[in-house]
Every structure is written in C-alpha cells, then in structure tokens.
Symmetry: C2
Subunit: 256 residues, 2 copies
C-alpha cells in the first residue's frame, strides 16, 4: 500500500504528532444478550489490535481520540471516556522496523520516530453495535466485532488494555448510569436487567435491581404496556433524562 500519504506519515509524522504518545480506543458493543469489542486486523501481518493512533501538536486528547476512532473505524460522535494510561517501556518493543515495513511497504531507519517508546492513553466507549457500521483505513484490512469472551491474542499490551477497560467499565456502572443509547426509548424491566447483567457479566437479583434504579429516579414507569403474547404485557419504562444526566455528573452509589 506504499503511497505518498503513508510515506509522509512514516517518515515525517513526528512533525505533526507528539512523539512517544499514542491513544488506544476500546469500543464495546452491546446488543440484546451480547457484549462485543471492536478490533482491527492489520494489513499484511497476522496481527489484531485495538483502533489507535497519535496526537497532533495542537489537539486536545479528547479530540485526538475522537478523530482516531473516526479515521480507523468510521465511527463518529461516540462518547469516549479516558480510563488509564499505559506506559511500560517495553510495551511496543515487538513493533520492529521489519513489521512496520511489512504493513506499510516503507523501509524505515532505526531512529525513525515510530521506533521510540510509546505511552498510550486508553479511552473506552459502549455503543449499540447493531447501529454502527465500522469501516477500514489505510492500515487496516478489516475492522469487526468480536465476542468479549473470544478476544484473540492482540498486539502489544492490547489484551491488558482491554481487560482494564472492561474492569473500569464494570466498576463505573456502580456510580454512573448506563443505557441511554443502548436501549430503545421505551423498554421493559427484563430488557434493562439483561443490559446490566450482560455488561457486568454476572447475575443480578430480579427484585432489588430495578428497585434501585427506580428509587434513584433514573428510570420511571409508564402507563403503557407492551403486548408480547397471551397474558404477557409487561409495563414499559423510560429514562428520566434530567435525573440520568445529574447522576452522570454527580455520581451515584448503586449496590445490587
């Protein structure tokens, strides 16, 4: 894929991007009972990794993360949350001149900026994966969803970054609400229950769980019911957007 743009990036990228710093994005996807993760297969070498990239000299970290995610996967307007910075001095050591040449088709010298140590800032997000359509960029051969229990061996420390993001997201749930963009506008208690169970990866008490969300005012019961068959018409619920946003901002303490 050697082309002018790639050559410029590899040889002179340090003029546009901060050296030694990168960003990696862990994008979780939820749909019904499933939790997935968005991974990239690199061109020409048999390696899978998180979507990632570099920070421009005049860019905020958040802007860089949003741009990188868009460039690498086509996903736009996704709320990325910073969770941890990874900086083992050896973390990218396996990214040799030969490997980068294999991916890009460009020969690089030992002192090329991409050969340096990189400290990577991790961001995560959770999206409704049936609604997003990832694409590919010049580095990637494929960009697709993997089941969270079937994450393959990833490049660098990306397995560790993924684990860390998952752990952070699971703890975050206890003090910030989730679900606003992951459920239909009106949903049943079993639907939000499944969402929480799937994301937490564990069973939750069927009685205490909704009580908590109701008592905090984050969800409210509607008069409307959904007709799903003979003698089955569960009540519908919706998020109270004001209470939800307040909880996002100030934090809550859930224990279910």
């Amino acid at each position: 894929m050697e082309n002018k743009e790639t050559r410029e990036f590899i040889l002179n990228g340090y003029k546009e991007y901060l050296p030694h710093l990168s960003i990696d994005c862990v994008i979780f996807g939820y749909h019904e009972h499933q939790l997935k993760i968005l991974l990239i297969k690199l061109k020409n070498i048999n390696e899978t990794c998180l979507p990632g990239g570099y920070i421009k000299y005049d860019e905020t970290l958040q802007d860089a993360a949003n741009r990188i995610l868009k460039e690498r996967t086509g996903l736009d307007k996704i709320f990325l949350r910073q969770f941890e910075t990874f900086g083992d001095p050896e973390r990218t050591k396996m990214f040799t001149q030969e490997k980068i040449s294999a991916i890009t088709g460009i020969k690089l010298t030992k002192d090329n900026w991409m050969m340096g140590r990189f400290v990577s800032i991790g961001y995560y997000a959770i999206v409704e994966y049936s609604k997003v359509y990832p694409g590919v960029d010049i580095f990637s051969q494929e960009c697709s969803w993997f089941d969270i229990d079937e994450v393959p061996h990833l490049l660098f420390d990306h397995n560790e970054i993924t684990e860390h993001a998952l752990k952070t997201m699971r703890l975050q749930i206890y003090h910030q609400p989730i679900g606003y963009n992951l459920l239909p506008e009106k949903f049943t208690l079993p639907e939000i229950h499944t969402l929480y169970e799937t994301i937490l990866g564990k069973s939750l008490d069927r009685r205490n769980f909704p009580k908590k969300l109701l008592s905090l005012g984050i969800i409210k019961k509607l008069k409307e019911q959904r007709n799903i068959g003979a003698h089955r018409s569960p009540y519908l619920y919706k998020f109270d957007k004001r209470k939800y946003d307040e909880a996002l901002k100030n934090g809550i303490a859930l224990a279910f």
Copy 2:
C-alpha cells in the same frame, strides 16, 4: 540556585526524559477530622503547585511517579494510584522562558525541551499526614500541607487536576475500601465513621454506615473495649486484612 546539575537538567534533560510528558502527584493527607493536600512553593516566583516531574526513557510510569514524589517531597513508599491524564495543548503555556529562568537562574532558548507542550499523567495517594515529613528539593522553597478547603490558586491546570483527584478518590471509596494506613490498628466505629465522612466531605448515616463494612467483612468487632471515660467504653474494631485486600482487588459496591 544556578548550579551544574540544574543547568544539565534544563539544557540536556530531553536526553534522559521523554519529551512532552510529565507526572503530577496529588497527595491527600488525613488526620483525625482533617483532609489536607501537599503543595510545593516554587523558588523565586510566587507560584504554588503539585509535586511533579518527568519520566525517564527506561522507567515505568509507576516508578517515575514514585521517584518524583520522593525527589520533590522526601516521601517514600506511598501507594500512588493513577487517575487521569491531562493534555490540553495550552495547559503549560504560561511557563515561559522567563519564568523558568527566574526559578532556575538559567537562560533558555525558545526551542528548549521544557518549552514544549506537556501531557501530564495524574497520580494520587492518601496518607496519614501526622506520620510523614515532607522535605524540599532544588526547585522548591517549601513543601507543606494545605487544608483541602483552602487550596490557593495553583500553577497551570493544577487546581483542575486536584479537583479531579478529589472526585476520583471520593468515587473510588464506593468500590474500594480505605483506611488501612489511616487509622490505628484497633479503632472505634466513630473513628472510621469520621474518616469516611471527612474524606467524602459529607455526613453518613451512623447506623447504616458500619453495617455495610461489617456485612462485607472488611472490619470486624473485637472483644476489647476502649475506656474513654465514665460509662463510655466503645468496642474496638480492626480491618480483616484478607477481606480488605480481596475487596481492593475485586472491588465492592458500597452505598451508604
């Protein structure tokens, strides 16, 4: 304070330290009813800031944070926890050649490595402040404890970093226990209650609060009582170290 060591650091520090990256440490101190923060007064200029520094090429982030804290304040063996990375492109812009010259006594050029943009990785810790004795280094004139409600205007975005650390620590308390190094080995319920209230900056229910910690097994009641006066002999408690460490590792969900 112009000396050989400082000159070497200012002029050639980029050979030893990663450019564009720094670490800032937010050290909270607890003692009885008070929560404090450790701040540094810079030499020669009227500026107060968090203890901070740079990362060596071959150092992990955690090692760098520990070394920096030790160099700047004399504090050693404190468990620092990473919480957020700050990267506004303008965040250190007020650190002009003139300011650095005023502090160090060394004239520097516009292209000096210290004039670049710095992305800073934040770490925090909480210590029993009556047990630690901060010192000073070559950059600092004074290193001392400030009341958390009386933090002065700080250099760069250090007020924002401090606020963020405080918010993170307060949320963290809901899913990781605290207190092991902040209370005597045997303590009363009012003592641990005061610790949590002081750190959270709010009142907690006197009945529900200890119930939670007891039901999780993090603290246990001893047969021993403390004699503090006529008709007053509250029972003593201690941490169950195994349960405490498990809770640190796996997380808990407290809601008091």
